[in-house]
């Protein structure tokens, strides 16, 4: 009797539910049922998924766009395939001569197309015949523009500064329209060198200072007020906006210490910026070393420093290196800190050229990629002649920063293999 009741209940309940929510009758006890909760569940999943993929799409678009436009500057279609000129030469003014006749024709047709467009808009909707006529004319004009554009590109002359000066005959201004674009010729060699120098110098400084601080914090410091204060200040340091670091570096290194706009001022400013990340990460890596390593070593009569040197640091090294180089790679991308401290918009000498004393090397400004990107994208117009430089610089910069990150990963793998635990 009891069993029968249960069976009945079991059948009844889902049946009632179904009648409320759906027209389909369940075929068995566990068949799928419709409910509001399920709809919510599904839609939340889709929402989260869409948002995530949106991020990927945006990031992918950003990178592909830069890669596509930038690759025009870096790569070429002929034999070596890499535009060494762009990667090694100094930035120069680009001198452009466009054939005047074609240019005149082009502007004429363009203005015609413009007026036709306006006319089409002002037409009444009944006047379809006229509209058709206009649109065919516009089409024809557009084709003509394309044809002329190809001709223009074929006949135009572009020179970098050096080439322009070497010319025996400048093209006659009766035949050509003459324009100049700053920074758009030549290459970005000095900026690549400058950024590399800045990055390596600041890595060296930041790593030394950061690791030493981290050793003290993780191994020697005693918990208490002062330690809290130190941690708080590190936390604060990581929250300071980069432009403030730039101003600080400018005030302290450039003006007060009188180093001028120089490599060394840039190094210290960048290093200071990377310090919080490096200290925190190094300290974490050292704390992660098992207590047994330290105890075992100390019990064998090692002094504290010996213990740290032989049994803590080596095993913390993979973590320290990775996070530090990642931190530096991020900082290397900052424009603000080097804007006032180390970067020149244009410098015609490479860092090692024309030095009177060797120490002068440290006290000279350099060109740097992030600052160069800022200059070429804000100080010169955007058009087909300047775009190459803008996107080419951005792509090279991305590749350099990316290769830093990659090298840190490889380095970690290697060091980890050596000091496995």
């Amino acid at each position: 009797m009891g069993r029968k009741e249960i069976q009945q209940n079991g059948k009844l309940e889902p049946f009632n539910l179904m009648q409320k929510n759906s027209h389909k009758e369940p075929t068995h006890l566990f068949s799928k049922r419709f409910s509001k909760k399920k709809v919510l569940e599904e839609s939340v999943t889709y929402l989260l998924r869409t948002l995530t993929y949106l991020v990927i799409v945006l990031a992918g678009y950003l990178f592909l766009d830069i890669a596509y436009k930038g690759s025009k500057a870096i790569f070429k279609t002929e034999a070596p395939f890499i535009n060494t000129q762009f990667l090694t030469e100094k930035p120069q003014t680009l001198h452009v001569f466009e054939p005047l006749e074609i240019d005149k024709k082009l502007s004429k047709i363009r203005s015609e197309v413009l007026s036709l467009n306006i006319k089409t808009k002002s037409l009444s909707s009944a006047n379809t015949e006229q509209a058709k006529e206009y649109s065919t004319t516009i089409k024809a004009h557009n084709n003509e523009i394309k044809r002329l554009d190809i001709l223009r590109k074929k006949d135009r002359l572009t020179f970098s500064d050096t080439e322009y000066r070497a010319l025996e005959f400048t093209p006659s201004l009766d035949e050509f329209k003459y324009n100049t674009y700053a920074y758009s010729g030549g290459g970005i060699g000095p900026a690549i060198i400058g950024t590399t120098l800045l990055v390596f110098g600041s890595i060296l400084i930041a790593l030394t200072m950061g690791v030493l601080c981290a050793i003290y914090l993780s191994e020697y410091s005693k918990p208490g007020r002062s330690l809290q204060a130190i941690r708080l200040s590190i936390l604060n340091l990581s929250g300071v906006p980069s432009i403030v670091f730039g101003l600080f570096g400018f005030g302290l290194f450039v003006l007060y210490l009188d180093w001028g706009v120089s490599l060394i001022a840039g190094w210290f400013t960048l290093a200071l910026m990377a310090l919080p990340v490096i200290i925190t990460a190094s300290e974490e890596s050292m704390r992660a070393i098992p207590k047994g390593f330290r105890e075992g070593s100390l019990a064998l009569g090692a002094s504290k420093w010996t213990c740290i040197r032989t049994n803590v640091l080596p095993y913390a090294l993979p973590g320290i290196l990775t996070s530090s180089i990642m931190g530096i790679a991020r900082v290397a991308g900052e424009t603000a800190p080097i804007m006032f401290t180390a970067a020149y918009a244009l410098r015609d000498r490479l860092p090692w050229e024309g030095l009177e004393n060797t120490t002068d090397f440290f006290f000279q400004g350099v060109m740097a990629l992030p600052y160069h990107i800022y200059v070429v994208s804000s100080k010169i117009p955007q058009n087909e002649y300047t775009q190459n430089m803008q996107y080419g610089t951005a792509l090279v910069f991305l590749l350099i920063v990316g290769s830093f990150a990659l090298s840190s990963i490889i380095l970690r793998a290697k060091v980890r293999k050596k000091y496995d635990w």
Partner: protein, 269 residues
């Protein structure tokens, strides 16, 4: 309880025999505000195995770690009163170099902690940090120590492989060998077999028995049978106090204190 006594200790048990290498007097020890050891008096005898037994948290490990000042590593730990003398030197005196002390008093930990280096480098570590670079001397010591720890035959063909590849028991014996390399006189063992299976435990115990001829050994153990098997003297700790200390035979067969009797017969702890 079926216990094999391997002891041949003499039963002279006056407080300060000339054989005593470690002498603790009226030792009070605390972690911050909580006192861990109360008024401990103990003489540990030369070239004997002394076992500390007692329930968890009774202070036996703390007491052991006083002997090589490993408690120094703990910020809040400190000796409130009393002295510990090793070979008649107060080891908490200002003039004591902890490094020299730790070379004299080696230690093996509960969890085997070989360094993630090769077997060879693990043994050589203690000498390398003393600045010994002579390859021949290192080779010799590594071999002697591994032989001393009864590990040589098992690892002689793979000295350059990572010590982490050894089994748990082998790792623990490696740690003992590593401690031997700095030529200590006293070896402290903090529950050396607690993570080992019975076969590995038997090997370590055998080793302890062998090392007794040359070294003074102090073993902390949870395992009463182990204490009975390996030690000449046994100290029973309870709640930070030394309840009873005497020849192992006496502690296990004929304890004076009812607490001791209850513990060794397994009625609590």
């Amino acid at each position: 309880m079926n216990v094999n006594f391997q002891t041949d200790s003499k039963k002279s048990d006056t407080p300060s025999t000339p054989k005593a290498v470690i002498q603790a007097r009226d030792l009070d020890f605390s972690y911050g505000d909580s006192q861990a050891l109360f008024n401990i008096n103990m003489d540990i005898h030369k070239k004997e195995v002394t076992a500390f037994i007692g329930p968890s948290g009774c202070g036996k490990s703390t007491f052991l770690r006083c002997f090589n000042r490993m408690n120094d590593l703990i910020e809040i730990a400190k000796i409130k009163s009393g002295t510990i003398k090793i070979s008649d030197v107060d080891i908490y005196d200002k003039n004591v170099d902890v490094i020299e002390l730790r070379k004299h008093v080696g230690m093996v930990f509960q969890k085997s902690n070989p360094f993630p280096k090769s077997i060879y480098e693990n043994i050589a570590y203690g000498m390398r940090i003393q600045g010994i670079k002579n390859k021949k001397e290192l080779d010799e010591t590594v071999e002697t120590c591994l032989k001393g720890a009864a590990l040589w035959d098992e690892v002689k063909d793979r000295l350059n492989q990572s010590a982490l590849g050894l089994s748990g028991g082998q790792q623990q014996r490696l740690c003992i060998a590593r401690a031997l390399a700095v030529k200590p006189k006293i070896i402290l063992m903090d529950e050396p077999c607690s993570a080992l299976d019975p076969v590995a435990t038997a090997k370590v115990e055998e080793l302890i028995h062998k090392l007794k001829k040359q070294y003074t050994i102090v073993v902390v153990t949870h395992n009463m049978q182990q204490a009975a098997r390996v030690s000449d003297r046994t100290a029973f700790f309870y709640l930070g106090r030394l309840v009873e200390y005497g020849p192992t035979e006496q502690i296990f067969m004929n304890p004076e204190n009812p607490k001791t009797e209850a513990y060794v017969s397994g009625r609590f702890g």
